[in-house]
């Protein structure tokens, strides 16, 4: 990379954090600072910028080890509060996915289904300290003779509980409209016919990957705020696609980068892991996630100073184009516009509706800022960067990304 006026290392910043001397601001606060002082001066003054996001993230779940019983069981099927968990792992390991509905859920048979309780809700109940009912079945083996196990557990009774989300924290997302003639129920919320509303789902200028568009600092091993506790980026998320078309500022114009993250569920909180019921679509889990970005040089200050005016969401028709996977994009709209409450599409004024909570995203960024300022949270230097950190592709692809 080029010659910078400011050059800081992770070690230097961590030393300052340990001494309680690090200067930390949120990704919203840095905007004004860069405007007033310039990028180099901002990078010199500030050590870390904190980001945050809070919204339903379907590709989430928990790896749970419920410990051995007497006599032991090799669970081949398992349920927690009547929600099936995947048991095709070792004897007492299961994976509980956020979108798995309870076995007796009527699904979309009574349309639109309410999806009252699913994996995401079990995860929230667990972190809230509630008791959950475990049922495990097995075919029985010589070493694990038990064929059925039922017990009530709270989170602390599990030997291990790890939140493990294969795809979180999308870098940009679609703005959803419905050009058909009937109301549709999607993971982007209910969409009224003839573009009756436009729904969007990112925190804009506060969102982690908008502030590090080329993944210069967010990589494998980055320590993050996850669900109210501490987590880590462990890999690029599934469908991570850095090759999407980007604007002049380097920010992708459609859903691009994603993160695979994990962390100790036992230390997380029900305020930042909330079971979600998406009408007509399914169950999910709203996740609070925040990433600290080190001000290694003025380029990072430049990236973090990005504003909602410069961030564009692709407008996608979920009435026809999305389910038919045509890849058609109706246009782009800035997050600044989306946050005003209305936008224009083909001369028609449409109300815009957020699905991601900016209020709680700010809370995430604020908490992370306090942790770092108080010296409780050190930066994790990536052991490897994500694909796309070293190159700039410009390959347009279809926009079907859920």
């Amino acid at each position: 990379m080029g010659n910078y006026q400011v050059n800081k290392t992770y070690q230097e910043i961590n030393e300052k954090i340990k001494k309680g001397q690090a200067v930390v601001v949120t990704a919203e606060e840095i905007i004004d600072l860069v405007r007033r002082k310039g990028e180099a001066e901002a990078a010199r003054t500030v050590d870390v910028v904190t980001t945050g996001t809070f919204s339903p993230m379907c590709s989430s779940g928990a790896i749970l080890n419920f410990g051995h019983s007497k006599p032991p069981i090799k669970a081949s099927r398992a349920w927690l509060n009547n929600v099936p968990a995947y048991a095709g792992l070792a004897a007492v390991d299961v994976y509980l996915g956020a979108t798995e509905p309870a076995t007796d859920d009527p699904l979309n048979k009574v349309y639109p289904g309410e999806f009252k309780y699913g994996g995401g809700h079990v995860i929230q109940d667990l972190v809230a300290g509630k008791t959950v009912h475990l049922v495990a079945e097995s075919y029985g083996t010589d070493c694990y003779p038990n064929k059925k196990l039922e017990k009530d557990l709270t989170l602390k009774d599990f030997l291990n509980a790890v939140l493990f989300n294969p795809r979180n924290c999308y870098q940009n997302y679609n703005c959803a409209v419905n050009l058909s003639n009937r109301t549709i129920y999607t993971y982007m919320g209910p969409l009224r016919p003839r573009a009756g509303n436009a729904n969007f789902c990112t925190a804009g200028q506060l969102s982690p990957l908008f502030n590090d568009p080329y993944y210069r600092t967010i990589g494998i091993g980055t320590r993050i705020f996850l669900g109210g506790g501490v987590g880590y980026v462990c890999f690029p998320g599934t469908q991570h696609n850095p090759g999407k078309l980007r604007g002049e500022n380097g920010v992708p114009l459609s859903p691009a980068g994603t993160l695979m993250v994990l962390g100790d569920l036992k230390k997380m909180s029900p305020r930042f892991l909330v079971g979600a019921s998406l009408l007509g679509y399914g169950c999910s889990l709203a996740v609070g996630l925040g990433i600290p970005i080190p001000m290694l040089n003025e380029e990072m200050a430049h990236f973090c100073a990005v504003t909602d005016e410069q961030l564009l969401a692709p407008i996608i028709d979920y009435g026809h184009d999305y389910p038919a996977a045509t890849g058609r994009v109706l246009g782009h709209v800035s997050y600044a516009q989306l946050k005003t409450g209305k936008m224009e599409l083909d001369g028609q004024e449409i109300p815009t509706v957020p699905l991601s909570s900016l209020v709680r995203a700010r809370e995430v960024a604020q908490i992370l800022k306090e942790w770092i300022t108080q010296g409780q949270f050190l930066l994790g230097e990536p052991v490897d960067l994500l694909p796309g950190s070293d190159e700039i592709h410009c390959v347009p692809t279809a926009s079907r990304d859920s």
């Binding site: 339903p56 109300p351 699905l355 209020v359």
Partner: protein, 140 residues
């Protein structure tokens, strides 16, 4: 989930039939008894809260009327459970009266109870199910 306060009046003819039992068993509804005055072989009045899936609720109501029970519906009200609400704004897409609205630039979501018509459209749309149907006890 739909919930309503109902005042049921039973005539002599139906007072001995297991009406409530059938509501629970055949229509999957839950009830909460608030007042009951029933004299066997005479007339009776029951005030109760009935809740269940909107479709089951309608069918249950029809069953009651077909069985000869006089049903009076008491208006409910919708309230937000602020413990559950995570301030996203999804509900503002469907609220017809503007009772749910976004405060800018904070992007927080406000609920003006006095503007709410209790249409319940927001209830199933809220991902956190924070909009709850409450009974207006003063209306009984």
């Amino acid at each position: 989930m739909h919930a309503e306060m109902l005042v049921l009046q039973f005539s002599r003819k139906v007072v001995d039939q297991p009406i409530i039992y059938r509501l629970v068993k055949d229509f999957n509804l839950e009830f909460n008894l608030l007042k009951a005055a029933i004299n066997p072989q005479q007339e009776g009045v029951i005030v109760m809260e009935l809740r269940g899936h909107p479709q089951d609720f309608r069918r249950g109501l029809k069953f009651l009327r077909d069985a000869g029970v006089q049903v009076k519906r008491v208006a409910g009200e919708v309230r937000r459970n602020d413990e559950l609400c995570y301030q996203c704004g999804a509900c503002t897409a469907v609220c017809p009266t503007g009772a749910l609205y976004i405060e800018r630039p904070a992007m927080s979501v406000a609920f003006a109870a006095e503007r709410c018509s209790a249409c319940e459209l927001c209830c199933p749309v809220c991902p956190a199910r924070a909009m709850e149907v409450k009974l207006n006890r003063n209306a009984i």
